[in-house]
């Protein structure tokens, strides 16, 4: 069966199908099982209702859609044949998955997909929970735990990008371990009374870390960074003053640190950490460095970074501010 979604006329798709992204109208989905019909044989007005009869729909809107489309086209032998074939041959799940895969970021559509059929839920959840954000309120976490009381059955394993606006997540270790496939983590560590230790190693395949920090001891920040062996990209958003490392025992293993390194605000508060990272057993191997300059010390820190990554550095981005002119916390996007 060959399905050309771009061959459907928009006017033929009733509003009941709004849960499908408009993107679908311009995309092409191709599948080649041992089917017996082809769009060239059956016009679109016949094919669309048949398509929906193939799907294991449970929702009334979809039945309505099929009925509405059937009423739009005259009964033909071809359509009857298709309908009979549909009843005996379930629609290939690969096509369902492919359709849902066209909807990343379309939260409304994905939520609607979850309500269509049980067989749609897993695939829709894969996209629905891929990018998850816990705000600064403890109630966010409580809501999550209330919605998914059984950690083994929660959609947390679908999450690839996780933002936690506060460290409340740390207080729920039984929840943290369910986010085992997180690759990008964005942490705001603004409460020095909540230790980062609980998060050590919680994300075994973490590759990118964006860390906003201000008052945690540098040694704790360093231990946190070193607890992710596959870490490649590191972004610092330091606020507050430097909290120098007095004694820190570097671990025997260190992260890869082979992607990008970026400081979004100021070097101040991160210089000591950078110096320690340079002393790691495996060193640093960043390919891309992006830093702001506000003082001569920043320039020296950049030189240290460049020396440490001399063999791997491919891209450098420097923003120079005139001395005494301090940027806002978030630098402009230019």
């Amino acid at each position: 069966m060959v399905i050309y979604f771009n061959s459907f006329r928009i006017s033929e798709i009733p509003t009941t199908l709004s849960f499908l992204s408009t993107d679908l109208k311009s995309r092409r989905v191709t599948h080649y099982p041992t089917g017996s019909f082809h769009r060239d044989v059956f016009p679109c007005s016949v094919f669309v209702p048949s398509l929906f009869l193939h799907l294991p729909f449970a929702g009334q809107p979809c039945r309505n859609a099929s009925r509405a489309l059937e009423q739009q086209s005259p009964p033909t032998y071809a359509r009857r044949t298709l309908t009979e074939t549909a009843m005996s041959c379930p629609f290939p799940p690969e096509i369902l998955d492919h359709i849902i895969d066209q909807l990343p970021g379309e939260l409304t559509a994905l939520k609607a997909c979850c309500l269509v059929s049980k067989s749609w839920i897993q695939r829709a959840r894969k996209h629905l929970f891929a990018d998850l954000s816990f705000g600064s309120l403890a109630s966010d976490l409580e809501l999550w735990k209330k919605t998914f009381p059984d950690p083994t059955n929660s959609p947390a394993h679908h999450t690839r990008t996780l933002f936690t606006g506060h460290l409340y997540l740390i207080r729920a270790p039984d929840t943290i371990f369910t986010f085992c496939n997180v690759e990008r983590l964005d942490v705001v560590a603004n409460n020095p009374w909540i230790s980062l230790i609980t998060l050590h190693g919680s994300f075994p395949i973490l590759r990118s870390l964006r860390l906003t920090f201000g008052s945690h001891p540098d040694s704790e920040i360093l231990d946190f960074i070193c607890s992710f062996p596959l870490l490649e990209n590191l972004t610092f958003v330091p606020f507050g003053h430097e909290n120098r490392v007095r004694r820190w025992n570097a671990p025997s293993t260190s992260p890869q640190l082979s992607g990008s390194f970026e400081i979004e605000t100021r070097f101040e508060g991160a210089r000591s950490i950078i110096r320690r990272l340079l002393d790691l057993q495996n060193g640093i191997h960043f390919a891309k460095i992006s830093v702001p300059w506000l003082s001569e010390e920043d320039v020296r820190s950049t030189m240290d970074l460049v020396s440490g990554c001399a063999e791997t550095l491919q891209s450098i981005n420097i923003i120079s501010y005139p001395e005494g002119v301090f940027p806002l916390l978030s630098p402009p996007n230019l």
């Binding site: 300059w293 506000l294 003082s295 001569e296 920043d298 320039v299 950049t302 030189m303 460049v306 020396s307 990554c309 001399a310 063999e311 791997t312 550095l313 491919q314 891209s315 450098i316 981005n317 420097i318 923003i319 120079s320 501010y321 005139p322 001395e323 005494g324 002119v325 940027p327 230019l334």
Partner: protein, 139 residues
């Protein structure tokens, strides 16, 4: 005692405050360097020239300069004019030796022609030879 310069509103502009790293940094060891992006928020360009002078990488692929803002008034601009002319000459050398076109990203609400006219003040030789790409911020 403060100088007369510091009392003049033009010479007291934050854009003219000394940029950190006026001596630039040494990129000679970064032999795989491909992309360089420098963003100025002030008017001084000396640090860019000195840093680029240290680049030894044969792989240099792109060189982008982002300008601070549009509509820089002439009296302020003239203070740092010589530094930009030095940079202009260096970028021409980069073209002659590496065939590397420079890219200038310029934040302006004016039309494209006005933007290019302003960039031409900073890089007269690059503009004359047509070896600079001027992009608006939104590009």
């Amino acid at each position: 005692m403060c100088s007369l310069y510091s009392l003049h509103p033009i010479y007291n502009s934050p854009l003219l405050y000394a940029a950190p790293g006026a001596t630039g940094i040494d990129l000679s060891k970064a032999v795989k360097l491909r992309d360089v992006v420098f963003r100025c928020t002030g008017l001084h360009a000396e640090w860019i020239t000195k840093t680029l002078n240290t680049v030894k990488s044969e792989n240099l692929h792109s060189l982008s300069l982002k300008f601070p803002r549009s509509g820089i008034e002439d009296p302020v601009w003239e203070v740092a004019h010589r530094e930009w002319l030095d940079l202009d000459r260096l970028l021409v050398q980069f073209w002659d030796s590496h065939k590397l076109r420079s890219k200038v990203i310029y934040a302006t609400e004016k039309g494209e022609k006005d933007a290019k006219d302003e960039v031409a003040k900073f890089f007269p030789e690059l503009t004359r030879r047509g070896i600079v790409d001027v992009l608006n911020k939104s590009d």
